[in-house]
């Protein structure tokens, strides 16, 4: 396994589009070609070698020193691993279809939006629109896993259709907005209007809440699939501890009935 490392030379001059730093794309290049790779910077470009010190050899893993102004890291990732020390800017892992993006710090807006596969791990917090839909799109996430240890902003899992989002901390308002299917786990406190407009899918919470009026309270239930889900999560790396131990009874609300939905809010206490 060969690792290619990018160390920041100094503070970034502005917001940088790092979407071209994908392991398998870089594996076809040598170090000097990678150093000459243009990264979009505002209306112009800047060479990767001007921003980063490169070391190691191109292969299936890229190590990156993170920065809050580094955008689109791992966007379109389809294989291999990107490890980020530090935070990231916006749109980390958007549209990724495979591989692993490990972020030790926090991520900005729309991390994992329109994701189709692979694993996005965020050790810190994530901004709004985590695992959401790209602007104008009717479908958000359609596969893969997003695991966030910290808190997330508003509209996490918007228009989600498949896959899993597990949030260790609190979620902002309108989580799972217009959710179509899939699973969203919130280990901490959910924000306002969770599940607004959801048609199908599962939102799992660790505490009883007072949901929107469109949700019908179906009382406490023993749900056998929860132990299956718990077993599945147990076998995965990086699942926030607050999202584990989903056995036993759960209060179930069905909705959002204002939208003809039959998704579920489950409070696993």
């Amino acid at each position: 396994m060969s690792v290619l490392s990018f160390r920041l030379k100094g503070p970034l001059p502005g917001r940088i589009d790092a979407s071209s730093l994908l392991p398998y794309r870089l594996a076809a290049l040598n170090l000097s070609e990678i150093a000459a790779l243009p990264l979009r910077f505002g209306r112009s470009h800047v060479a990767a070698g001007d921003l980063f010190d490169l070391s190691g050899s191109p292969g299936d893993t890229v190590e990156l020193e993170g920065d809050g102004r580094l955008d689109f890291v791992g966007a379109g990732l389809d294989g291999g691993t990107i490890r980020v020390a530090g935070p990231l800017g916006h749109r980390a892992g958007t549209g990724m279809s495979g591989g692993t993006l490990l972020v030790e710090g926090s991520a900005g807006l729309a991390a994992g939006a329109a994701m189709r596969g692979g694993v996005l791990y965020i050790g810190g917090d994530a901004g709004c629109e985590l695992g959401g839909a790209l602007p104008g799109e009717r479908t958000g996430m359609t596969g893969g896993r997003i695991l966030v240890q910290g808190n997330v902003g508003d509209r996490a899992g918007e228009r989600m259709r498949r896959g899993l989002i597990a949030i260790g901390g609190n979620a902002g308002a309108y989580a799972a907005l217009h959710m179509n299917a899939g699973s969203l786990l919130v280990g901490g406190k959910p924000g306002a209007a969770i599940g607004h407009g959801m048609r199908n899918g599962t939102i799992l919470l660790r505490d009883e809440i007072d949901p929107l009026p469109g949700f019908a309270d179906c009382g406490l239930n023993q749900l056998p699939f929860l132990s299956l889900l718990d077993k599945h999560l147990f076998g995965l790396d990086g699942v926030p501890p607050a999202c584990r131990g989903l056995t036993g009874r759960a209060r179930r609300w069905l909705g959002d009935r204002g939208f003809g939905g039959r998704g579920e809010l489950l409070a696993c206490v």
Partner: protein
């Protein structure tokens, strides 16, 4: 061949290629998993009229099942994937879905699309629009609301190649001697993985031959092994044999069937001539119908 006083005929069992699948049924207690398993594999002794041959392969401890509850592994065998799918569908719907607290999973590795055996894929419509599904590790599970909670069922299973029709014929001095020998042999054979003995208690008393003197009868009594007819020229029984019982084995491979037959033979030989067993033979159709031949002498060598 005479072993421990028991005649081992130089004969062979003729077995056929079949299609099989394994289902794992779990429930709140081992007893309820057994109830579901017994019902789902009931009336499944012979493909001649049951559509499939099935049995409980073994009981599963909670740590062996997908949902961590006690369960049973069921094997279903049929002549082809289509009829297997139909049988699994109806048995799943009428016997497992209906049994309190059960959940049902595929017990075979993911196969090709053309080998699909629908489970929840068809049964989900029982949910009348209130069913939900979850995709975990690439496998889809359906959650169907039922009166005691939710029925959890994997979307599909897959058919795998299998071998059906391995058999042993136990020839004994008396009916009770044959029955006790067959019981012991069936117990020994059930311990072999990947096989089931589809008949009641694993034992058949009405072995059949192909065809009959009557039109429209595909099979009729195996008169060569009926003790009440042992004076007739076509009888294959010596004068001292008063009762014959057969054990039929279906397995996921020829090696599994052979292992079960060997275990059964070893058990019978171990009991010795003193237990009333006169001999052991096997049933075949002249070798033209089935691809798999299990020669008793080869199994013992």
């Amino acid at each position: 061949m005479l072993l421990n006083g028991i005649h081992i005929e130089n004969s062979y069992a003729e077995a056929f290629d079949m299609k099989a699948t394994r289902l794992i049924v779990t429930a709140d207690t081992p007893a309820w998993a057994r109830h579901a398993g017994m019902a789902a594999t009931g009336f499944a002794t012979s493909v001649i009229a049951c559509g499939c041959e099935a049995g409980i392969e073994r009981e599963l401890a909670p740590d062996e099942t997908p949902d961590g509850r006690p369960g049973v592994a069921l094997l279903f065998f049929a002549t082809g994937r289509g009829v297997l799918g139909k049988q699994v569908e109806t048995r799943l719907g009428q016997c497992i879905l209906t049994c309190p607290g059960t959940a049902c999973f595929s017990g075979v590795p993911r196969g090709a699309r053309e080998d699909l055996v629908p489970m929840g894929q068809k049964l989900r419509y029982f949910g009348d629009g209130q069913q939900m599904s979850k995709l975990l590790d690439g496998r889809r599970y359906w959650r169907i609301p039922v009166m005691d909670g939710e029925f959890l069922c994997e979307e599909s299973s897959w058919s795998v190649p299998a071998v059906g029709g391995g058999n042993l014929l136990i020839l004994a001095d008396a009916r009770m001697a044959a029955l006790e020998a067959a019981e012991a042999a069936a117990d020994a054979m059930r311990a072999v993985p990947n096989v089931v003995l589809p008949f009641p208690g694993g034992v058949v008393r009405s072995g059949s031959k192909i065809g009959a003197k009557y039109k429209g009868m595909p099979a009729s009594t195996n008169d060569a092994y009926c003790p009440t007819l042992r004076g007739l020229p076509r009888s294959r029984l010596p004068a001292e044999v008063e009762s014959v019982l057969e054990i039929v084995i279906d397995g996921l491979s020829a090696a599994d069937v052979a292992a079960a037959m060997t275990a059964g033979l070893a058990c019978l030989i171990g009991r010795g001539r003193g237990s009333g067993i006169w001999g052991v033979t096997a049933g075949n159709y002249g070798g033209k119908l089935g691809r798999h031949h299990f020669h008793l002498h080869e199994l013992l060598s």
